[in-house]
Symmetry: C2
Subunit: 549 residues, 2 copies
Amino acid sequence: MRFWGWGRDGHPSVLPEHALGFLADRLGSLGRRRAPVELEQVQLPPSRLAGADGQVLSEVVGPDGLAVDHRTRVLHCGGKGYPDLVRLRSGHPDYAPDAVLFPGDAAAVGRLLRCSAERDLAVVPFGGGTSVVGGLRPEPGSHRGVISLDLRRLDAIGRPDRESRLIRVGGGVRVAALEQCLASGGLTLGHFPQSYEYVTVGGCAATRSAGQASSGYGRFDDMVVGLRFASPDGELDLAATPASAAGPDLRELVLGSEGALGVITEVTLGIRPAPPARRYEGVFFETFAAGCEALRALAELDGRPDVLRLSDESETEQSIALSASHGIRDALGQGYLRLRGVGGGCLAIIGFDGGEAGVRARRARSVSVLRRLGAVVIGQSPGRSWLQSRFSGPYLRDDLLDRGVMVETLETAATWSELLGLRRAVADAISSALQARGTPGLVMCHVSHVYRTGASLYFTFLARQQDGDELTQWRAVKSAASAAIVGHRATITHHHAVGRDHRPYLAGEIGRTGVGVLRALKRELDPGAVMNPGVLVPLPGEDQPAEPS
Amino acid sequence: MRFWGWGRDGHPSVLPEHALGFLADRLGSLGRRRAPVELEQVQLPPSRLAGADGQVLSEVVGPDGLAVDHRTRVLHCGGKGYPDLVRLRSGHPDYAPDAVLFPGDAAAVGRLLRCSAERDLAVVPFGGGTSVVGGLRPEPGSHRGVISLDLRRLDAIGRPDRESRLIRVGGGVRVAALEQCLASGGLTLGHFPQSYEYVTVGGCAATRSAGQASSGYGRFDDMVVGLRFASPDGELDLAATPASAAGPDLRELVLGSEGALGVITEVTLGIRPAPPARRYEGVFFETFAAGCEALRALAELDGRPDVLRLSDESETEQSIALSASHGIRDALGQGYLRLRGVGGGCLAIIGFDGGEAGVRARRARSVSVLRRLGAVVIGQSPGRSWLQSRFSGPYLRDDLLDRGVMVETLETAATWSELLGLRRAVADAISSALQARGTPGLVMCHVSHVYRTGASLYFTFLARQQDGDELTQWRAVKSAASAAIVGHRATITHHHAVGRDHRPYLAGEIGRTGVGVLRALKRELDPGAVMNPGVLVPLPGEDQPAEPS
């Protein structure tokens, strides 16, 4: 992956020319293009690794399992959050790993963790490298140095247990590679986050990822039936069990642990027969509230859609304006027209995977609910366009950053009865914070994960970057949005995880006692506090809900 | 509830006369009837509560919130497990609470826990009083005394949030009372464990209960969306959130905590529209393996049955022999005949709740799968009989104990590919252990909770009691069965919880690191170790898998 953004070097731009006028119109003049620095120009501090460290560590991983070269270190300087990209594009990451290690199996991971704790080295586990919450910034904390633990060699894929619909895989296996392997046997996992092309199963488990088809296939944490977890204190090996009443669920402690307690070295995942048929289509609602009401009704159906997502008016308008596809613009334009002439309206995508007959029957049940609730079904063209561009968001972000446009996303979830109020509060908080910085923004929102009791809200906002002050600008917005979320007792993150960016707000969600529990877990599993310092676990003084800064 | 068994005093016998011959034939001569002692004859040690204790505690709960009378203490001497009943029927419980407290709200619970910790009194939270794993034995541990914390006054039922399908209720609310209250508003929870008549929502959450309709409505832990939890160290207040990626899921630590970390004072539960229609019916399979294969296929269906249970050959035969209902015997007799003349075969019950049309359509899909897999659908009569007698197991146990018959159940779960091997191993372990004691037994098994990846196994065994040696006899069997379960890496309990009975085997499931995590949680939330001593958390020396004793 290119160090300053998403995808391989040379990936073509996905921002169409016609979008630039739209953006300038809404955000103000965009100014000149800003290219990221070259890899060689990135400024890194010299590695603090002592000779003895290198010797001990490479005894565990073998001579080709340790890297200290510039390129490898730069590629492990962070994740893909907005602050990461701002820093890396400018050539000034504020931290860099002193070395990158590539352990070959779970036992080597365990030895490395013990060895790092003994030698007072912080450890940042590194899967696909896609964290958008600061989860991969290699801060040494109070330690002598910091190593990045790249898990790509934990790439074993077991034989599927077709009877139990399970497969056991190494924590470093890429979701895309697993999906490809399963497809050759007529099977699927069904986990498709926007970061699909890069994420690993261990990373998805450690961050409680949710994919775009979560309403059918479930969240990633639902898919994990068993796991192995290495901590500096020892290994947790939890066998695949469909359900248990044997006390607190320790799987649920490892899920979401974000490398701050240890490393997920293996997971056993629920899998399914690959769907022979697929039907994804567009639906139009007059208002976001009407769309939510329909999603709520669909969420209760047996055989509800596998994909269910609803854009608000603003996102609908922008996806037309920013889309590179004529198809989606034409289809949406027609939907608009058919519905109400020009302007307004919310686009939803509903998608069904399965056998031909099942898809037909399930679709019929959903469409009957949708029509009763006043939706207009506008055909498969928007569904196909969405499928084609479902992983393109991060590429678009790179193109926008090239043009000096800040683009950031954040997400939450709430019960249905709280959802509209929460959306308004968070959108207002983002808008006001951007306005206060003198950079009025575009704020949009969608629902992309539904449950019987509620749904997620995913916000995207765009504004002109404040030159040289990008991170202060970003922090002001993040803080305002997070305070609004905590004020509504909603969750500070539905599927991006806590990382560093949400850590100050975690106490607002789990309270003082909850913070105490996390710290107790950390003390037990990572007594030397070497695991991913600054990630997840609130720092001293962060025991109470944070005030907006 | 009668102190020595289940139900109210004077509940009529449910053991039909015709069953006695069958039992004597299989287990050997049953001997004379054995009545339990009278309440007044139960031997209790004097209350160790000092005057100052009583004064301080009743300041928290009010003068009518503290009881030390003989009857109240006897009724809080334990739960309803086999060892509890053996002890109580003989009038010799080995422990009794020094006082029983009835706090009126969550704040009073919190104050009581702090106060008990300060005064060095152990605390046993008490909901419906139905634990079958020794979870309610009031052992003081190393403390000066022990109080039973009866939560019946935490009985508030909030207004349902119909939009989000949620209701917030006090931890002491009985599931049956909640169901009745919901029914009046056209709603349901859908949690029907065999202990339905007595259990509380807090108890179901603390023990990860699973109801008979779990394949449709989910396990109780699936229903808990938010909760409040009082520990001696402070309160955990986790708002209702449909899903979150904010770190480890702290709800999942409270669920299954069995009163050993604190007290669940409130839960927010997912609810559903009450089903206007219901269709439950019997299905016959030639073999248990064929039945499991069919359940596995049904578990994958959208709109699968809400109730799915399959008895093995032995349980099928015994449910005919022990049934008080002519209907079930006649219907099953016919099923037998139709299938294969006499003997053999396994009965399953499948049940659908919902709207008329939905039930019809879902049933049609399930029946088509069943017929393809060779099942014989034998009509609604067995379904109705099962519905009528679904909560009668504990009454039957009392009648069997009256006749000197040991009857005990235990349960586990495993993936589909491991299920048949596990069943054989556990059944053999139970049979051999009973044989070795000179009391050959009847061992039966059913599947009553299904998942995509596997299912539960529920064993019932009957044997003549060894007079005066009942608990040694019981322990031998329990130990043999648990060792077989741990040996297969299955869970030591699917829905009965850990309590005291499974505690020695927990390390076999979660390992040394897992035990360390539980102890760390206990130290953090209950630093004085006053909460339910001996329950759930492995004792020193129990860090490794136990050897069968």
